[in-house]
Subunit: 158 residues, 2 copies
């Protein structure tokens, strides 16, 4: 395993695997509960490789997934690029300060068969071995609305 790239030192605490649970809601769907696993990996270059998978808390069937990369610029500016299996790509910009990532979409683009998503906002807060996040989105004609809230705990450092 190579050393972490120095650009990533301020967010080194993300590296590893995190597991936990969350709840989701949106005006167009039934409320739901899920289990989640998130991994942040690195190869010595100035980005973290991010992967996320969720499963239904009741049936254990796979729900959502997303994959991409996080970059930290000059210790404060954050750039995140993500792909979703629903046919959406998401580009998030924002800041990292005192354990909090405050991120908003600069672009959300979908394939012809993807549902319309026009804006996504994500707030992550990392504190020791706990990672919490909230996600709001404007989708299928609705304005920016709370969608997801979850709390994860570190299970490995790697």
């Amino acid at each position: 395993m190579p050393d972490l790239h120095p650009d990533l030192a301020p967010i080194a605490q993300l590296v590893g695997t995190w597991r936990g649970s969350g709840t989701g809601s949106y005006p167009t769907i039934e409320d739901f509960a899920y289990r989640e696993e998130v991994t942040f990996g690195h190869v010595g270059k100035p980005f973290l490789a991010y992967g996320q998978k969720t499963r239904d808390a009741g049936t254990d069937l796979p729900l959502h997934a997303e994959t991409g990369y996080w970059r930290l610029i000059e210790g404060r500016d954050v750039e995140v690029v993500l792909a979703h299996p629903t046919g959406i790509v998401e580009l998030l910009l924002g800041t990292f300060d005192d354990g909090v990532f405050d991120l908003g979409s600069s672009a959300v683009v979908g394939t012809p068969t993807a549902k319309s998503v026009t804006e996504i906002r994500r707030r992550f807060e990392v504190s020791g071995d706990e990672l919490r996040y909230e996600l709001a989105m404007a989708a299928v004609g609705k304005p920016l609305t709370h969608h997801l809230s979850a709390t994860l705990h570190r299970v490995t450092v790697d």
Copy 2:
């Protein structure tokens, strides 16, 4: 392991891990040679999870990576969403016919620190245990120009 989603049956041969080597060129850089590993996974839903990593053929240091999802619509239309650690998201549309994926970007969007990429074309051809691809791109002010060519072979089916 769940059964493959029936929408993916025409491209079931992609599922697994592929390894091989390729060469790269572009008007703005030195020619280079690389080793590559590609994985196509699934969870029973109508998409393939795609991951790609390359290493310098000489030094074995990590070069590029990309991650995302592939979908097949009605047996012929292909939608691919990708994220790159260089701060780029890529949305490809095209067709699958007789083992050939012919794909062109409908959107390429970058973060403020990403290099400018305005168009990407990819052609994949799968035949038995061999997967070949070519990639051309318009980047950093150059017109659409050949960039990558590689040949991989299946190492696992999973």
